[in-house]
């Protein structure tokens, strides 16, 4: 592991921010202050943070319905994310998208997606763009174990391998596709075995170990940057909460012992303990990080609540791009 101490602490801070953002989102939704559906990422934070630690804003990612973690890890601003949850004009999508459709194209976050598998083709297109640009940028596609049963997964792996596209497929195997366990969905417990069918490297790793995720992603991203083609990384992880909530969290249907077992492997507690053991962080520093995250989230809620609701008169704005003629300006694709 070659990450520096400040990088490791920043990874810890982002993981805490992701967790607390979603804990807060559950409270806000239960309290009726935000709308629609919430899919908490709590428990899976190491995947988004470990992967995105290897990316710049010029690298592009696509996300899922459980997308808040990917947004924060990629560098999105929690104030504008929160404003989107509140349905306000200062949200990333001006209140048009909500929780399931947050995007921040400026940081290379090409959108959360309400359709299981829906982001795979879009990420593959972003990888084609990176290949044509020839600047060594990559695309990363986050998706769950459920998406592995979708045709789009297989189409995307196939064409990416044929064209040696610079893309990393990151499967967050959180053990359940909606409410059905992996064993009900797939003949293999390790979905990374599918990589072999398409002639690309496939790896199954501990998705609750942010350092292991970071290391595996680094290898795959560097391979992609060298134009050597795509990789599939399966990160074994677990969501601590329900698949989705609307007005109230639904009743838990998974075994209590299973949940407790996975909570023992809390990715945040593990990294914090490691850093403290290595004297890269003190208990006091950790408390400071947690207080800073809470302050940032309070500021985000205040920002969201101060932002106006969209004007109904603007309902048609942004339906179509105003410009109907493309310009001739660069960039042109590299040969």
């Amino acid at each position: 592991m070659t990450s520096s101490a400040p990088q490791l602490v920043e990874m810890l801070r982002k993981m805490i921010l992701i967790r607390e953002f979603d804990e807060l989102a559950i409270k806000l939704r239960t309290g009726g202050r935000i709308y629609g559906a919430v899919h908490p990422y709590v428990g899976q934070e190491a995947v988004a943070v470990g992967v995105c630690a290897n990316l710049t804003h010029a690298d592009r990612v696509t996300s899922t319905h459980r997308g808040h973690g990917h947004c924060i890890a990629k560098g999105a601003d929690v104030k504008r994310m929160m404003a989107e949850l509140f349905g306000r004009v200062d949200g990333y999508c001006k209140g048009r998208g909500g929780s399931m459709h947050i995007a921040d194209f400026a940081v290379g976050m090409l959108g959360a997606n309400g359709i299981v598998g829906g982001g795979l083709p879009i990420a593959t297109g972003a990888a084609l763009a990176a290949q044509l640009e020839g600047k060594g940028n990559v695309a990363v596609c986050f998706f769950g174990d459920g998406a592995v049963a979708e045709g789009e997964f297989h189409e995307a792996l196939n064409i990416s391998s044929v064209w040696k596209l610079p893309i990393v497929f990151v499967c967050e195997n959180n053990q359940y596709a909606a409410n059905n366990a992996v064993a009900v969905q797939h003949p293999f417990s390790d979905v990374a075995v599918h990589a072999a069918s398409y002639g690309l490297p496939g790896l199954t790793i501990d998705g609750n170990d942010v350092l292991a995720v970071c290391e595996a992603a680094r290898t795959a991203v560097e391979r992609a940057r060298r134009s050597e083609g795509p990789s599939l990384i399966e990160c074994k992880t677990y969501r601590w909460y329900f698949h989705a909530m609307r007005n109230a969290p639904p009743p838990e249907t998974r075994p209590a012992a299973e949940i407790a077992q996975w909570k023992e492997r809390d990715p945040i507690a593990r990294l914090a303990a490691d850093l403290i053991a290595q004297r890269l962080l003190t208990e006091s520093d950790l408390g400071g990080l947690q207080r800073q995250v809470q302050a940032d989230l309070q500021e985000a809620v205040a920002f969201a609540e101060a932002s106006p609701y969209p004007d109904p008169g603007d309902i048609l704005v942004d339906m179509f791009a105003a410009s109907t003629v493309g310009t001739l300006s660069p960039p042109s694709p590299s040969p």
Binding site: P121, F320, V325, P333
Partner: protein
């Protein structure tokens, strides 16, 4: 003026736009001629048969600044990519708050009359009209095919180009140079005073033939070609109906929730146009069946000149 076929016109449009802008790339399972020779294998991509991933890749690469043309071949195959068309292409710009443009052109052949039976004889443009978020072109002549496809490629939105199979070999004049036809502009293909016939694609040509025939009998038919279904130039159609007082709409899609339905509704919703009507609006569409294979059945399923003439005589009350 130079005369070329509908297919040649479409090929010219793609080649000219690829020459004009290095960001235009094309993805498909097959190409006319050898475009790889001129544009290289990076920009001309032979693909696996994977409509879903190709449709979504068009969005992803477009969001990153390129201008892809994704060729579904037959519109039939686009249904394999339903998620990417319905949930993604038609919605991503708006639901992301207009953060990015998605300048992608989806090309497909459409229509029946070729003996290809149910799955390969479809005209489902109204399904895509219904989505909101996709522009749709439906040319009827070689000149419009070239000019509209060039506009589609330059448009900063997802555009679906429906290219009627029965028009492929139709030859017509195409202006030299950078011939563009704007999206959202209908054309009066033939001026007349007694009845307005709105034809779509192949049925523009059939309506013109009928207009010729009826002119000899003293009936003056105005033929309008919408050319693009989204955006739809309804004002040109309404203006014609206010003049003639009669409207017949001809298309080879079945009538239910069709482009013909939409045109009829838009015409009668306008009070001034409604008051000008002197007869009930008529739609001449395909039978509501999967298009059958046998020539006698296929002919019965699709509109023909006799049915167009019957509808015109009905609105003129001269049966």
């Amino acid at each position: 003026m130079r005369e070329i076929s509908f297919t040649q016109a479409l090929d010219e449009a793609v080649a000219e736009e690829m020459r004009r802008d290095a960001r235009v790339i094309t993805l498909g399972t097959d190409f006319t001629g050898n475009p790889v020779k001129e544009f290289g294998s990076a920009r001309v991509r032979f693909t696996p048969i994977s409509e879903s991933v190709l449709t979504g890749m068009g969005l992803g690469v477009a969001a990153c600044g390129f201008r892809p043309i994704v060729n579904w071949r037959m519109v039939t195959f686009s249904f394999v990519a339903m998620d990417q068309i319905v949930n993604q292409a038609s919605k991503v710009r708006y639901m992301f708050g207009g953060q990015a443009d998605f300048p992608v052109t989806y090309r497909c052949s459409t229509g029946g009359g070729m003996g290809l039976a149910a799955q390969h004889s479809q005209s489902p443009y109204s399904m895509w009209m219904h989505l909101a978020g996709l522009k749709i072109i439906l040319p009827a002549t070689p000149a419009d095919a070239k000019g509209l496809l060039k506009s589609a490629i330059r448009d900063n939105n997802p555009v679906v180009s429906f290219e009627c199979s029965r028009l492929n070999t139709v030859v017509g004049p195409v202006p030299d140079g950078d011939h563009m036809v704007p999206l959202g502009a209908a054309e009066v293909k033939r001026a007349g005073t007694d009845v307005t016939v709105v034809g779509l694609a192949y049925y523009v040509q059939e309506a013109l033939a009928v207009a010729d025939e009826l002119a000899g009998q003293g009936i003056s038919v105005e033929v309008i070609d919408p050319r693009t279904l989204v955006p739809l130039d309804v004002e040109t159609i309404r203006a014609s109906v206010r003049k003639t007082g009669r409207l017949v709409i001809v298309d080879e899609a079945p009538p239910t929730c069709s482009a013909a339905s939409e045109i009829a509704a838009l015409v009668v919703e306008d009070a001034a146009t409604f008051r000008a009507l002197r007869a009930a609006v008529q739609r001449v569409c395909a039978a509501s069946v999967p298009v059958p294979y046998s020539p006698t059945l296929e002919k019965a399923a699709l509109p023909d000149r006799a049915r167009i003439i019957a509808a015109i005589r009905l609105v003129l009350d001269t049966q």
